[in-house]
């Protein structure tokens, strides 16, 4: 057992190295970065972070990202819940085909959809809004949420539904007060994955926004090209994008392994 644990330790070390480098660089001065190699920041500086927290184009990037990711998570889970219930409890015309079709949407390369999405959302008149990105991300997050939730719901015995009806519960009341609490873990895991995939996606988010809803990731690419090569600033901005994910994952740490495992193939 002791000998074997060297494998995960080495692996985690490998995972942490690039992250360390990013964080270390964010505390270095531009001079130090460009002048040569140093393992630790020689002159420790918070300049990069100061810039980000005082410049609205920077910090609004974060707020925009968090806004559309949150909207997307809520929409994805909210609409996926009844749908997953239908797939897990009922047989209906075309159910299997529908389920498969939903999953195929995860296979569509985002690059394929970038331009048509731009035109569609411009035509509807919500281009450059948080809602646009949130809705666009539904394309791959809803199928995933349905898939995960369906797996968790399958583990809840059907007798629970029947008992509730016998006890005189109406469907909406049963669904909200009994059923959803019994798959809390599943809702958490689905929300986590929705958050994750919406947070990390950039191509669509960048395509669908210009100024008002521009995500942090897009701000970063602009900086990289326009303001020369400000590596320290870029590293600080990158470091800050890791934090929301880390916070979210902490909450679901005990369920994360179960997430996909419960889904059906």
């Amino acid at each position: 057992m002791q000998k074997r644990s060297i494998v995960p330790i080495l692996y985690i070390l490998f995972l942490m190295l690039p992250i360390y480098w990013l964080v270390a660089m964010s505390f270095k001065t531009t001079n130090e970065i460009l002048s040569g190699f140093s393992l630790f920041p020689q002159t420790f500086t918070l300049d990069a972070y100061r810039t980000i927290f005082t410049d609205p184009t920077w910090y609004w990037g974060y707020i925009n990202s968090i806004l559309y990711v949150s909207i997307n998570t809520v929409i994805s889970v909210a609409v996926a819940l009844p749908a997953a219930y239908a797939f897990s409890r009922y047989r209906f015309l075309g159910d299997k085909q529908l389920f498969f079709w939903l999953l195929t949407n995860r296979m569509a390369p985002a690059a394929v959809f970038a331009l048509p999405f731009f035109q569609l959302y411009s035509a509807v008149g919500i281009f450059d809004t948080h809602l646009a990105v949130a809705l666009a991300h539904c394309l791959f997050n809803i199928p995933l949420a349905v898939w995960i939730l369906e797996g968790f719901m399958g583990g809840v015995p059907k007798e629970l539904d029947e008992t509730a009806y016998v006890d005189g519960y109406s469907f909406p009341r049963f669904f909200v007060t009994i059923f959803i609490p019994s798959i809390k873990a599943g809702v958490g895991v689905a929300a986590f994955f929705a958050f994750m995939f919406s947070w990390v996606e950039l191509l669509l988010a960048k395509t669908l926004t210009a100024v008002a809803a521009k995500p942090i990731a897009a701000t970063m690419t602009k900086t990289a090209s326009s303001a020369g090569y400000e590596l320290g600033l870029l590293a600080a901005a990158g470091t800050l994008t890791i934090i929301p994910g880390a916070i979210v994952i902490y909450f679901v740490r005990n369920y994360i392994a179960k997430g996909f495992a419960m889904g059906r193939v």
Binding site: F37, F113, V200
Partner: protein, 287 residues
């Protein structure tokens, strides 16, 4: 079992509408472009299947597709066995398990362009940790902006860094669901470690591994942002994967027709290969 109930469609309706809005309308736009030619100003000419023919015959498409398959193949044969091996060597319970899982999941939660940027500064020849170490400590000449092999090694390593944890998490979930009795029975039956893996762990991990391989296939086949930020498709075209090429044609050259035709071919290939994977991996269950 499940009851027949057509009203269940009402439960599915919101999902259906949202996904259809996002999937069908853009898809129709793409189909529309793919059979027309435009010189701008919203003037279109009927082109039939010419674009498809042109794409399917083009050397450039073949090369990108080849690189794409190469990339996906390489990351699958590295990430899947590596992920399984790491999951196998994890303790089954204890204080460290959630800590390990959180640390392992961290790379997956970093925005994709940040992953690319991070590996870019990690690999810079003289001032990046990896680049400095290889060039100045080990004395291996390494510069991914010049050397296609170095660029390939870097994007593969990056993807392994980014996504192996997904395989680990899924395999681990499969492993901890195996009851102790299986291991005990195997001990009593005199099974070797290899037999335990081959006849207990692997079959019990099959479902989650199928999911892992499918997801890794789809996502790696569609990969765009990370290699684009890391190498920009270069040096030359050496790391121009399918998505990168597609975006170059569509947005860079504004050749909407060929780009649309290429998108559809691309999507069809993804679907076909996913379906093949799925059928092959679940074949045994049907018998």
């Amino acid at each position: 079992m499940k009851t027949e109930n057509q009203k269940a469609w009402f439960f599915v309706l919101p999902v259906l509408l949202l996904v259809a809005f996002n999937a069908l309308i853009p898809m129709m736009t793409v189909v529309n472009y793919s059979v027309q030619e435009t010189f701008g100003d919203n003037v279109f000419f009927w082109q039939g299947l010419d674009w498809f023919e042109q794409i399917l015959r083009s050397e450039r498409f073949h090369a990108s597709l080849g690189r794409q398959f190469m990339f996906t193949f390489l990351i699958l044969i590295i990430e899947v066995p590596l992920g399984i091996a790491i999951a196998l060597s994890m303790p089954r319970s204890g204080f460290w398990v959630p800590v390990c899982l959180v640390l392992m999941a961290l790379p997956m939660l970093i925005p994709w362009n940040v992953v690319g940027a991070m590996w870019n500064i990690f690999a810079l020849p003289d001032i990046g940790l990896l680049g400095y170490f290889l060039n100045h400590v080990l004395g291996i000449h390494y510069d991914m902006t010049q050397d296609p092999i170095a660029a390939w090694v870097t994007i593969i390593t990056m993807d392994v860094w980014h996504w192996t944890s997904l395989v680990v998490l899924l395999s681990y979930a499969g492993l901890v669901s195996i009851p102790d009795a299986y291991y005990q029975a195997a001990k009593i039956d005199g099974a070797s470690n290899w037999s335990v893996f081959r006849f207990i762990q692997l079959p019990k991990m099959k479902t989650v591994l199928t999911i892992a391989i499918l997801l890794r296939f789809m996502d790696s086949f569609n990969i765009y942002t990370e290699p684009f930020v890391l190498t920009g498709g270069g040096p030359g075209n050496s790391t121009t994967l399918l998505s990168i090429d597609l975006v170059k044609i569509a947005l860079g050259q504004f050749d909407l027709g060929p780009a649309a035709a290429m998108s559809l071919i691309y999507f069809a290939i993804t679907l076909l290969v996913s379906w093949l994977f799925y059928t092959l991996m679940t074949k045994d269950d049907l018998n």
